[in-house]
């Protein structure tokens, strides 16, 4: 083989925690949501392997701290948009696990009536604007959502100061749309925060092989006058403490920002990834820095030893058990939910029914002989 397996990227992170400390309640909530995502994803993999979920399926395991630490820094009405590895964001934003699982099963009770599937999680009441399948294509959408926030406040005089969160993977750094969006973000002075979930791989291509000047990704944002910050995406408490001030600043001044979160995905790009591009050792090295194990340990360690001392072994087991049951319920719900009927083929294409859409009326029967 003419290419060598890449080494783990160096993950130097600036230490600049200066925001509010995560409260004990918040820390427990973060642990609970991260564990919910992990359990949900492990069930998702099982369901996929049993052919209950169709198409492509991208697992979030390993990156839980990213969605949880950032979304915790938001207000409920701040819009969020992400790419296709989106189950974690949906759950962190408040989507019920049953609606999320049913969507992947293609059932009517899914968040989009089973029409979007794994890559297209939408939840308007929770201000989640997708789930998008084309790499990088969500980045101008984030800009537009932030533009709307500002316009509605400044021009229409409605609402409060809001920020939009737009996630992208490091693979999206190759797409031109992202740089068009960064340019507009500064030109229009829009409160959009681009959260780079930098898991080190663009599908099967390591960061250093797909991104020039990979050690200084923040320079890309700063070239457009967008403030760029690097953070450790594996430690949810420090992430929150650094990210929250960025949100507050963007909200207050209505300006954009770019945050490079160093993280890692334990599974392949999708469920059908042979993962020839990395070693098992590398994956194991990252699992040793697991964000959930780290947070649980921080919460269980007594205060005198530098931890929070707010979680016992039994509490943690009980929490895991409760989440396991919740996700099991979601699986059962998705399994038993009603499948869409043929008539669903022609709904939700236009506001009003159009001729020629119906499988029953036209296409099935074709041209009739008027003489017969």
């Amino acid at each position: 083989m003419s290419q060598t397996i890449s080494e783990p990227t160096e993950r130097a992170v600036q230490d600049q925690s200066n925001g509010p400390r995560m409260s004990d309640d918040q820390a427990l909530e973060a642990l609970r949501t991260m564990q919910l995502i992990r359990e949900f994803e492990s069930r998702t993999m099982q369901a996929y392997q049993r052919a209950k979920i169709g198409g492509f399926c991208h697992i979030y395991t390993g990156q839980e701290a990213c969605a949880v630490g950032t979304i915790m820094s938001l207000e409920k009405t701040d819009p969020v948009v992400t790419a296709y590895r989106d189950h974690g964001h949906a759950l962190a934003r408040g989507m019920h696990p049953s609606a999320c699982m049913a969507e992947m099963f293609g059932k009517l009770a899914g968040c989009a009536k089973g029409k979007g599937g794994s890559m297209h999680m939408f939840d308007r009441p929770n201000h989640l604007y997708g789930g998008h399948g084309i790499v990088g294509a969500q980045t101008p959408l984030g800009l537009g959502l932030a533009f709307a926030c500002r316009y509605q406040l400044d021009v229409m005089g409605s609402g409060e100061k809001r920020v939009a969160l737009c996630y992208l993977g490091d693979g999206a750094l190759g797409q031109g749309a992202f740089y068009e969006a960064l340019n507009l973000a500064t030109l229009f002075s829009t409160p959009v925060i681009y959260v780079l979930e930098n898991n080190g791989y663009s599908m099967g291509t390591a960061l250093k092989r797909h991104a020039a000047n990979a050690d200084r990704l923040v320079d890309r944002a700063e070239a457009f006058g967008v403030r760029g910050v690097e953070m450790d995406g594996l430690d949810v408490m420090s992430l929150y403490e650094q990210f929250r001030p960025v949100v507050d600043d963007c909200r207050e001044r209505q300006v954009p920002a770019f945050v490079d979160l160093k993280t890692y995905r334990y599974q392949g790009h999708s469920m059908s990834d042979p993962q020839k591009y990395r070693t098992k050792d590398e994956v194991e090295q990252y699992k040793e820095k697991d964000s959930i194990a780290r947070l649980a340990s921080q919460l269980m360690t007594p205060k005198d030893d530098g931890g929070r001392g707010i979680l016992s072994e039994d509490d943690w087991s009980a929490m895991q058990k409760e989440i396991k049951d919740l996700v099991k319920e979601a699986m059962d719900f998705a399994e038993e939910a009603e499948a869409p009927g043929e008539s669903e083929l022609t709904t939700d294409v236009y506001a009003n029914p159009q001729p020629n859409l119906s499988p029953q009326s036209v296409y099935g029967h074709g041209v009739k002989n008027p003489l017969l």
């Binding site: 293609g106 794994s118 599908m203 296409y363 074709g366 041209v367």
Partner: protein
């Protein structure tokens, strides 16, 4: 001769092209170590070197633009776009550049480009990963559009496409990628672009189709009574399409059913149907029938098989056309 799948035959054609022509360069997302999203380029980077099987970032516009630049300089670029839906970001480069440079430069600069794109539904993937946009690209003068469905045809057409002096969009039906094997010669051979294949002979009715729908049509034809003889035409090239073969058949049978996965309105079926009535009007015994996908976004997998023309719907179309 070797038994090969569609994937295997395409891999073999690319291997031959790289082996025999130093101007051939493959580029695309993960085409190197991983062998591309469907493993079509598996082993080629190891054998021919990573500069000839060039991994790229996720950057369809950049991939297409760079491939066109290579072609402008006289190279034979063979970019891979992972799914037909991902042609979106590359559309500008393909349509506004590649398709037009021969005209724009009065043939001073030409674009020997072969864009390989997996296409179509039937693998339980969602929209953007299951669409059939062949009519969109057939509508752009300057592009050729090819969609073989058998390993033998794919190898011959791919080698023709790579050696074609103009840009070719080479659609590969995902549903047929690994569905069966057939004998494929090990040596190089070509199948001309623009020639349809008569898959089965018949006097009663002509079925015109392409891509994975060929196999659904074969099943529908098998289900017909023994005394009904149907001529099945695999179009193979969507543009320039082989109207002569279609017209010759329809003049013989007087009846035609066109089958495609893409939505009906403004699909290739509309074009072919119009051309048949222009050319064969006095031979027609019945209106030309279309059995197609619906005018909807490709549905998620639960309804995928309701959307795609299957043997039952095709059979119904055939019966209607015969009964007219």
């Amino acid at each position: 001769m070797t038994q090969r799948t569609l994937v295997g035959a395409i891999n073999n054609a690319l291997d031959i092209a790289l082996e025999t022509d130093p101007e051939v360069v493959i580029l695309g997302e993960d085409v190197g170590i991983n062998g591309g999203v469907f493993r079509v380029t598996e082993g080629l980077a190891a054998k021919h070197g990573r500069h000839r099987v060039q991994n790229t970032p996720l950057d369809e516009s950049g991939i297409m633009g760079a491939a066109i630049g290579l072609a402008m300089a006289g190279m034979k670029a063979v970019p891979e776009i992972q799914f037909e839906g991902f042609l979106g970001p590359a559309y500008d480069q393909l349509v506004n550049h590649a398709a037009r440079f021969r005209t724009r430069t009065r043939s001073a600069i030409t674009i020997p480009l072969t864009v390989r794109v997996p296409v179509g539904g039937g693998i339980h993937a969602p929209e953007l990963h299951s669409d059939s946009p062949e009519a969109i690209y057939a509508h752009h003068p300057g592009l050729k559009v090819v969609m073989p469905c058998t390993p033998y045809d794919a190898k011959g057409l791919l080698l023709s496409a790579i050696n074609d002096p103009d840009p070719v969009v080479f659609f590969e039906p995902k549903r047929a990628y690994r569905s069966f094997k057939e004998e494929v010669p090990d040596e190089a051979y070509t199948i001309p672009i623009g020639e349809a294949k008569v898959v089965s002979d018949g006097d009663d009715l002509t079925v015109v189709t392409w891509g994975a729908s060929v196999f659904q049509c074969l099943e529908a034809i098998d289900n017909q009574p023994d005394d009904v003889n149907i001529e099945l035409i695999d179009l193979r090239t969507i543009y320039p399409y082989d109207l002569d073969t279609i017209a010759e058949s329809v003049e013989k049978t007087g009846r035609c059913v066109i089958v495609h996965e893409a939505p009906r309105t403004a699909g290739m079926g509309a074009e072919i149907s119009a051309a048949i009535q222009e050319r064969c009007f006095l031979h027609l015994e019945a209106p030309v029938q279309r059995v197609t996908g619906f005018d909807t976004v490709m549905p998620y997998y639960k309804l995928e098989l309701e959307y795609l023309p299957d043997a039952e719907r095709i059979g119904k179309g055939i019966s209607e056309c015969l009964a007219y």
